[in-house]
């Protein structure tokens, strides 16, 4: 398994699937939205096929080698989804008349019913169905989802099938993988809140299955349960939100609801108080799904799943669902376009939650040694950025500062895109690291009895100096980290800057309560710089900390390609898209990306963007911007390199892309931080600020005893009454049978007494 083998021939069966969409697209009269169902249905078909075939032909050689235990089938399904997505995006961008917001293609009339209204008339034939809803937000997320799912699936083929621990169970992985993808695609495409919720839950299920993929591990099973339950808490509130929304608008279709959010069902004016609670409920759902404070506890544990799962669920797609939902809520508050006024508080709450989470996650990430855990907290933190941005957007839109609102909305969504790409790649890269370290470890200990079972291939303290061993991975990871940190000009910089700036500007605008989130995310920017750099340096720079490192080399097929693709996108995609006006596009301010072939216009656009990013007109914002850059670009990385950086071992040489960074990190000198590492703060952070313990404790002290009490109550009180009746009857029976003494004299006596009683009764009543 160790040697690299060219397995691209296995991809040949994908060609027909590649051809499906182009074939349909060139047919006359075919609208891409009419085929949007293919995005969902392709994985839906693949799911049972992979699962059942895999179960039946588990040990079959062809299934293992040619189909990669279902990986190729999954890839085919995802390819169909991806190509359909590209078709839709293409249609949209060329301005195909068939695609606009009001054009809802209905797939399924799920249930239909009547409603008894408060005036005792029936509202006939309400339908809860599902159709497709396409706007820029959909397109962006759809692209992110299909594209990343495809790449991660590709990656997983290499990653999963070469790991002996997954033997014979990869079909399960791929089946659950496509089902998961289905959930994400469906959620993004759904044209109403109910179906958004439905697919949302499908994702929840799949995350449960995939996190618990190593079902025999107690920690994995526990993590899976925790993830499902925590998100379930949010989901339930989300559902309540749906109920309220339905009550207000009499429909959950975006088309109906967003048509005029101020008017409810039957033309009633919408009460902002009620709507506020609906939105709050929906937001709690989003908080759960996107792992924000206080429902964040599941995300780090969720790293128990295989690394592709982490990449898929916990960075690239699923956690974005919450963001997507909040972004979807914009029309409610968009006062400029029929939004309901008086909902600024909602925006503030969102921003605060985001700010708190961002700061908290970043600080916890400081002390993590598990490479995936660092990424997990970074995910949490970055998502929190986006929430803060969305919160600001909600705030701005609701006070009718729609220009600023749209800008920060676009920036947030752009950050979502950047983060997804970068984080997807980072996880895959970390997977590559873990995989190769693990292989190397196995290789060393092959055949020896006293294998080191405590060896943790995810622990960064076992790594170091991998830059030369894993050149592609190191490069990818460097660009990914840069994007996350927000190194100027790279990926995330463009979006993050916008979020921070606009959050501050909300404060400057006069909303003092915005100061908190603004400060928090500003601080977090610097912290991000630190922990991401720390991760990179610990892994790739410095001297190897474990003998295993010497044996690491990039050998596994299928792993490099996605990394390379994503490296490009991360490195320059942000800039390109920013120039193309993605921010305006995503916030629906403009209908299209500003493509141009005119060089002059292009350079104008570039200059505009750069100017906007580095030299905003507002002085205060300019200061904020530069402080951000300074914190994240200089302070964080430099401090990290002082603690963890260092040159490679003698004789090792990293490639061009990363070599400079390794060398640079060695230049800053060493700083001893052990006093800090031993501090109480560090321990608190290591324990995740005791949130898990708190929840656990509360559960154990209240819920479980109460459940036991109810069970006891049921057994001994409610059923006890029945049992008492039974035993008392039996007792009574024994007593009453004692009257039958066996003596005829007694019988006569009893009869006489009875006769006397009869007379008493007769007398009493009649005479």
């Amino acid at each position: 398994m160790g040697e690299t083998k060219n397995e691209y021939s296995l991809l040949l069966p994908l060609i027909p699937f590649l051809a499906i969409v182009p074939y349909l697209a060139i047919q006359d009269g075919n609208s891409s939205t009419d085929f949007a169902w293919m995005i969902v249905v392709a994985p839906f078909i693949a799911f049972p096929i992979i699962l059942i075939t895999g179960q039946v032909y588990n040990k079959n050689e062809t299934w293992k080698n040619k189909f990669k235990e279902g990986g190729i089938l999954a890839l085919a399904a995802l390819l169909v989804s991806l190509s359909t997505t590209i078709w839709i995006i293409y249609d949209y961008l060329i301005g195909n008349a068939n695609i606009n917001n009001s054009d809802v293609t209905s797939w399924l009339e799920w249930i239909s019913f009547d409603i008894l209204q408060s005036d005792y008339t029936m509202a006939q034939n309400r339908v809860l169905g599902v159709g497709v809803w396409v706007d820029s937000l959909t397109l962006m997320l759809l692209f992110v989802a299909t594209f990343l799912c495809f790449l991660i699936c590709w990656f997983a083929i290499g990653y999963m099938t070469t790991d002996p621990i997954n033997e014979d169970s990869n079909h399960r992985f791929f089946a659950e993988f496509v089902l998961f993808s289905l959930g994400m695609f469906g959620m993004v495409l759904a044209d109403n809140f109910l179906w958004l919720f439905i697919f949302w839950e499908v994702m929840g299920l799949c995350s449960y299955l995939l996190i618990g993929f190593y079902y025999w591990k107690e920690s994995a099973a526990y993590a899976a349960k925790k993830a499902f339950l925590t998100t379930r808490v949010g989901d339930v509130f989300l559902m309540v939100g749906l109920l309220i929304l339905y009550d207000i608008y009499g429909s959950l279709d975006f088309a109906v609801v967003f048509d005029d959010p101020t008017t409810g069902v039957g033309g009633a004016l919408v009460d902002s108080g009620e709507l506020f609670w609906a939105l709050m409920m929906l937001f709690i759902g989003a908080v759960g799904k996107s792992a924000q404070f206080p429902l964040h506890v599941w995300l780090p544990d969720a790293m128990e799943g295989p690394t592709p799962v982490s990449a898929l669920i916990h960075a690239a797609t699923m956690v974005n669902a919450g963001l997507y939902l909040v972004a979807r809520l914009m029309p409610f508050v968009d006062v400029h376009h029929h939004g309901v006024s008086g909902l600024e508080d909602f925006g503030l709450i969102v921003a605060w939650i985001g700010g708190i989470t961002a700061f908290m996650a970043a600080s916890i990430a400081f002390v993590q040694n598990d490479i995936k855990k660092v990424l997990a907290y970074s995910t949490m933190s970055q998502l929190a950025y986006i929430f803060t941005g969305l919160g600001s957007a909600l705030y701005f839109l609701n006070i009718d500062e729609y220009y600023a609102g749209y800008f920060v909305l676009g920036a947030s969504l752009f950050h979502l895109f950047n983060h997804a790409m970068a984080k997807g790649m980072l996880f895959m890269a970390s997977g590559s690291v873990i995989h190769e370290v693990h292989h190397a470890h196995d290789h060393i200990h092959h055949g020896s009895d006293h294998g080191d079972h405590d060896f943790d291939p995810q622990d960064m303290r076992n790594m170091g100096g991998l830059a030369s061993k894993l050149p592609v991975t190191a490069t990818a990871m460097m660009f990914g980290s840069m994007s996350i940190i927000g190194i100027p000009l790279i990926g995330g910089f463009w979006s993050k800057e916008g979020i921070i700036a606009k959050t501050w500007s909300a404060y400057f605008h006069g909303e003092t309560l915005m100061l908190g989130p603004a400060l928090l995310i500003l601080a977090t920017a610097g912290m991000t710089g630190f922990y991401m750099s720390r991760m990179w340096f610990m892994t790739f720079a410095g001297e190897p900390k474990n003998e295993v490192v010497d044996h690491v080399h990039e050998s596994t097929p299928w792993i490099k390609e996605p990394l390379i693709i994503l490296t490009f996108i991360t490195a320059i995609g942000g800039f390109v898209l920013a120039v193309l006006g993605i921010v305006d596009f995503l916030s629906n301010k403009s209908d299209n990306l500003s493509f141009t072939s005119d060089l002059e216009t292009l350079s104008e656009q570039i200059i505009y963007e750069l100017e906007h990013a580095f030299l905003p007109e507002d002085t205060k914002l300019r200061i904020v911007g530069w402080v951000t850059i300074f914190l994240s670009f200089v302070i964080g990385p430099v401090m990290a390199s002082r603690v963890h950086g260092g040159s490679l071992k003698e004789g090792e040489k990293a490639n061009f892309f990363v070599g400079w960074l390794v060398n640079l990190s060695g230049k800053f000198g060493k700083q001893d931080v052990s006093w800090l590492a031993d501090s109480q703060l560090s321990e608190a952070l290591d324990k995740r600020l005791y949130f898990d313990d708190l929840y656990e404790g509360v559960l154990e002290r209240t819920v479980i005893p109460f459940a036991d009490f109810t069970a006891w109550f049921d057994r001994n009180i409610i059923d006890g009454i029945i049992k008492q009746i039974e035993s008392k009857s039996v007792l009574g029976s024994f007593e009453i049978r004692k009257f039958t003494t066996g003596s005829a004299g007694d019988y006569i006596l009893m009869a006489t007494i009875g006769a006397l009683c009869i007379f008493v009764l007769l007398m009493g009543v009649s005479f």
Partner: protein, 100 residues
């Protein structure tokens, strides 16, 4: 001519004696006799009624009731005999295999 109510009064007394005896005495022969006494109380009533109403039916009832009483005694004695032959007692209290 005795007033029929005196006859009936005697009947009440006899009936009381019979009933009292029936549940106080343990010897079944005596109980049987008490039953006879009760039946005779009824007979006295019939007689009293017959004489009061001048109705011949009352006499007939009396005659038949006496016959019934005779049959009853016959059967009763037979049953008591068979009881005695198996359990060697005719006490109401002692014959109590069947109970509860």
């Amino acid at each position: 001519m005795i007033d029929p109510s005196w006859i009936a009064g005697l009947g009440v007394i006899l009936f009381g004696i019979g009933l009292l005896g029936a549940f106080t005495r343990k010897n079944s022969i005596i109980v049987l006799m008490c039953i006879e006494v009760m039946l005779n109380a009824a007979n006295l009533n019939f007689v009293a009624g017959a004489s009061h109403y001048g109705d011949v039916n009352g006499w007939v009832f009396t005659a038949i009731a006496i016959a019934i009483a005779a049959a009853e005694v016959a059967i009763g004695l037979a049953i008591l005999l068979s009881l005695y032959s198996t359990q060697e007692t005719i006490s109401l209290d002692e014959a109590n295999i069947l109970r509860n």
